[in-house]
Amino acid sequence: MKEFLIILMSAILVDNFVLSKFMGICPFLGVSKKLDSALGMSTAVIFVMVLATAATWPISAFLLAPNDLSYLNTVAFILIIAALVQLVEIIMKKYLPALHKSLGVYLPLITTNCAVLGVTLLNIEEQYNFAQSIVHAFGAGLGFMLAMVLFSGVRSRLEGSNIPESFKGMPITLIAASIVSISFMGFSGIVENLFR
């Protein structure tokens, strides 16, 4: 149990996917303008991350690794993720139209979100077992959500402020992200001490 908590907490706070591992920067910068779209996007990401891990881990462990095909991981995983996202979208549209309405627009974006492919590849690289992988994926998704929600607040403050001409748009957003990222550095070391 403790081991799972450590993986979960370090994925959320210390090794935050967006702010310290630089994965999923595109949606982080693109969709974080409003709180509700930030929430929608990150819910969709958590959902797909856990599903993708549940689908890719067995394939890698039972199909690719025993046959010495580990070098096909990247190709296989991206195909699985693309198919999965499509499948989820179709199923959701049919059976959960309300959920599809709120998450639907974000789903196609997720195929090319490097956080999803990144988490599946990292699970293999870190040699997590199945349960650990799922927890890691869930933690990574929650960390993504935390960063998105925090940052959407920062951005709504930026909207009204007086910014120098050449810093308008992307540059000031990146600099704000840098400051948010500094605050996350304060968490380093917290997990080891919390569960000692």
């Binding site: 994965m23 595109c26 910068l29 001409e165 992307m170």
Partner: protein, 224 residues
């Protein structure tokens, strides 16, 4: 779109439409691997290779790939080349493989590669597509090299292993860490904005390059 010569296409990618600093695509690898100039160049060249090859193949197959399944088809082509690059780097430059880590396979989902496939290679001739791949690749490499240089000198006081700033002065290690990446990238884009002020109004290229631009435009404006 007016016809451009191959040379113009090549130069376009390097300066006028620099994928990283002007189009703002492929931000994840830009921020993650530029802790040193050497890493930046390694990542840039790997992407250059993938981009050129995938542009070539996609341009070659543009009549064969049906419109409905083009995105999965492009991704598979790109992932194939990424695997090739990964194996080559593991064999010949293992230390680069170590420092790039998971970002090497993540070239697959780099917006630049898919974006150029969708925006350029699927509509243009083979020779122009290859030139576009090379130009965009060089532009990406240059941007990464710039960022890597700034972060390495400020963050470690050394450059390619040569001590530039005397060791008595403590280097600003934060530039090597995550916040420094965001900060340097922000400042670089601001500089580019400053010096290209007389250019026509900014197009929303960041989104147009994205294969899911339609969905994205609904979700939000800007970004990819």
């Amino acid at each position: 779109m007016e016809k451009k010569s191959n040379l113009q296409v090549l130069l376009n990618g390097i300066i006028k439409e620099n994928p990283t600093l002007v189009l703002i695509l492929g931000t994840c690898p830009t921020l993650a691997v530029t802790t040193s100039a050497q890493n930046g160049i390694g990542m840039g060249i790997a992407t250059l290779f993938v981009l050129t090859c995938s542009n070539f193949v996609i341009s070659l197959l543009k009549r064969v790939i049906s419109d409905k399944i083009r995105i999965p088809a492009y991704i598979v082509i790109i992932a194939g080349f990424v695997t090739v690059v990964q194996l080559l780097i593991q064999a010949f430059a293992p230390e680069i493989d170590k420092s790039l880590g998971v970002f090497l396979p993540l070239i697959t989902v780099n917006c630049i590669v898919l974006g150029r496939a969708e925006m350029f290679a699927s509509k243009n001739k083979i020779s122009a597509s290859v030139m576009d791949g090379i130009g965009m690749g060089i532009g990406f490499t240059l941007a990464l090299f710039c960022m890597g240089t700034i972060r390495e000198i400020l963050g470690t006081g050394a450059y390619f292993g040569i001590q530039l700033i005397p060791q008595a002065i403590e280097p600003m290690a934060i530039f090597k860490l995550a916040p420094g990446g965001f900060f340097v990238f922000g400042i670089l884009i601001a500089c580019v904005n400053k010096f290209s002020k007389n250019k026509p109004a900014k197009k929303r290229n960041g989104c147009a390059g994205c294969p899911s631009a339609a969905a994205c435009a609904k979700a939000s404006e800007g970004g990819c």
